[in-house]
């Protein structure tokens, strides 16, 4: 094995060999700890595994035709098209489309992610996450657990039609691996050579026929803490990886070892830093290690500490992975929680997200068209003013001709954008049909929170009715992003007022908001009076209102 290292293994890993935890030495710590793993015992197998895990490749597979077509449309057709726009809206739309394309690639690699909600299981190192998961899923020997801290890769587990394990690298390349490879990647390589794959692999997906929940994905994350670098988030890669993935999950189960007696302060700090939208289910793990009455005391103390820290929690229960047994008020809090989430998603938001990108882009054309039309109209009025000199009339006619040409170009550009949009929608529909993924027209609140957390979309766009004289808006250089606020929330919808302008009424009607009816569950305070909005004027009767998502 030492030969493997000396023969350029470290080069192959592109420098991603963990700095030994004792940073004073320069050579990776090598232990003979292969435990019969073929990827460690056989250098060729090991290298071959590493090579396939880190390779970059073009899209292949049954869906590659559609995927490559989509890639071509976005990266060539749309890019060429957007270059003709005289603003940054096209660039922004292009950037959003590239992000969308990445999501699509992920959906193609793991369609299950589009169908089910993700429940992340987090906690400090050795909180018993993996044992908890394998117990809940009924596969005790599947996931590698270890007693020494190692850098791991976020691992998604879900029920499927076959038993398979896939690793997805940061190039979007998916590699099928076996259980030995999984153990090698997660622990053995690290133990033996100090090599971690966390910089190379964005996720591992474990699909098993025998898992209990058909519409639920569990996410096993690295322990956020290592004893030697807690609190130094700049150095703690595991903490950053854990935070990123825990934030991206739809729900969170947080594990605390019973021996802590309550939720330790670093755990509380970490949970608070996640900025969770959904209440966390806190599980006191290894419940078999203490008598039940003492476990119940731990539960009570933990609840009090969570409340003191103002952490929104669903419940605190205790669980013994050893006995697959729960201690809680009802005795089945965990099962109820998982059954509820196991309803699955209504569908993928890929279509909705694509619509949002083009909706925003199309609005640019509409708004620009409105501005040019106004100019055109004004110049026309001036041309027919009898007092104007012939020379000036001639100039105005020239300007008017230019405006007219701009209007024609704008119409053509919009039409071209709509064609690109239609092509993408068509390809997406075919692709998703092949994948068995349903496309949702609107996201659920959980999905919307996820989209917001990923930073892909910061606002919702609504069609709104407008009434009033537009000449009151002459002080604004552009009618694209006029600042305003929610003046009133009434039975008919949201009443919007433009900052500092009276006499222009704007209303987003309730049926527009109803598309997001799931947002209104539990009090309907998604939108608040005074919330800032941006208004894009389309004409003297309608506009688009951009409302920041505050969930």
């Amino acid at each position: 094995m030492e030969n493997m290292m000396n023969d350029g293994f470290s080069d192959l890993m592109n420098g991603h060999i963990d700095k030994p935890e004792e940073a004073t030495t320069t050579k990776p710590k090598i232990q003979n700890n292969s435990g019969g793993n073929k990827y460690l015992n056989n250098p060729e197998e090991g290298l071959s595994l590493c090579a396939s895990l880190i390779s970059n490749s073009e899209y292949t597979g049954p869906n590659s035709k559609f995927q490559n077509e989509i890639k071509h449309i976005i990266e060539h057709e749309f890019l060429n098209h957007a270059e003709h726009d005289d603003n940054t809206t096209g660039a922004r739309a292009y950037a959003n489309l590239l992000n969308w394309q990445d999501k699509l690639a992920e959906a193609i690699s793991f369609p299950q992610l589009e169908k089910s909600y993700t429940v992340a299981v987090g906690g400090s190192f050795s909180a018993g996450k993996t044992r908890f998961l394998t117990s809940v899923l009924g596969c005790p020997s599947l996931l590698p657990t270890d007693t020494t801290p190692t850098t791991s890769i976020p691992t998604y587990l879900f029920k499927g039609k076959e038993n398979s394990i896939d690793a997805l690298n940061f190039y979007g390349k998916k590699t099928s691996i076996d259980e030995e490879a999984l153990k090698a990647i997660c622990h053995s390589f690290n133990k033996q050579y100090g090599v971690t794959f966390s910089h190379l692999l964005q996720m591992i997906a474990v699909e098993r026929k025998e898992f209990s929940y058909s519409n639920l994905i569990f996410l096993d994350t690295p322990g956020y803490s290592k004893a030697d670098n807690i609190g130094d988030s700049t150095q703690n890669t595991d903490e950053n990886i854990a935070r990123t993935h825990l934030r991206s999950a739809d729900y969170l189960i947080w594990l605390v070892d019973q021996q802590n007696g309550t939720v330790p302060k670093p755990d509380i700090d970490f949970i608070q830093s996640l900025d969770l939208q959904q209440p966390v289910l806190l599980v006191i793990s290894k419940a078999d290690k203490r008598p039940e009455n003492l476990i119940r005391e731990v539960i009570a103390t933990a609840k009090a500490d969570l409340e003191r820290a103002e952490i929104n929690y669903l419940d605190v229960i205790a669980y013994s992975a050893q006995n697959a047994q729960e201690i809680s008020a009802t005795g089945q809090r965990l099962t109820d929680f998982l059954d509820e989430i196991n309803q699955g998603k209504n569908g993928s938001t890929l279509l909705w997200e694509l619509e949002q990108i083009f909706k925003k882009y199309d609005h640019y054309y509409d708004s620009k068209h409105q501005m040019l039309s106004l100019t055109h109209k004004t110049i026309n009025e001036l041309i027919f003013d009898e007092s104007i000199s012939q020379d000036n009339r001639s100039h105005l006619t020239d300007i008017n001709q230019k405006t007219k040409t701009q209007l024609t170009n704008l119409r053509n550009q919009k039409s071209e954008a709509q064609q690109i949009h239609s092509k993408l929608v068509g390809l997406l529909a075919q692709l998703c049909e092949g994948l068995g993924v349903v496309l949702a027209l609107t996201p659920s609140i959980i999905q919307l929170q996820g989209i917001k957390k990923q930073g892909d979309m910061e606002a919702l766009y609504f069609n709104a009715l407008l009434q009033g004289e537009l000449n009151k808006l002459s002080r604004f250089s552009s009618l694209n992003e006029i600042p305003g606020y929610i003046k009133k929330i009434s039975s008919i919808g949201l009443v919007i007022e433009i900052d500092g302008i009276l006499g222009i009424d704007i209303i987003i009607m309730k049926n527009q908001l109803k598309r997001y009816s799931t947002l209104f569950v539990g009090g309907g305070d998604v939108f608040k009076t005074g919330d800032p909005v941006k208004i894009q004027i389309l004409d003297n009767k309608k506009c688009i209102v951009k409302v920041d998502i505050i969930l």
Partner: protein, 183 residues
Amino acid sequence: MSILNKIDNSLIGERDFIGHPVSSLLLEEKILYLQAMSLIMNVGGIIEDSEKFYIVLLIRSFKLDFSIINMLIDFSNDPDEKSIIDFFDVFSNSVIRQNFLFDALMMFTRITEINENFIDSKILAIRKMSDGLKIPRETRNSIKELLMILTTHKSELFFSKLKDENLSESQFSYLGYFYEFKS
């Protein structure tokens, strides 16, 4: 009902109601007004094209975007109780309530469905809305008489009817222009 059935609605053309009092209201009030009209439109479970056209005529007259018709149909299929309460709150003390009853009756006269139950349900709905708006019985009768005058196209009667003490003259003067009556 038999009288209302006899009303000839063919006089309503495609022109807008220029100067309809609602056209000068706030956007929010216009929407409440139209939502309430849409409720009457949807009573009986059938929306006739003639009713839809009348609502569109009002939308145009109120200088609103045409797309609101779809939102109104959505609303009428799944009305929100709070909106109806707000409608009554805003208009039960306003003279606009006279216009609402007039428009509701005008829309009613345009329906072609002859099913008794359907017609009864429309009349009941208009009556309930009138009750909610607290329109006095005398005013209701005067509005019905005004409608009869319009349908028989008698301009001299129209102008004298506007002087009816139960009616607010300024609320209906726009109809003279619409029907091209000359005083």
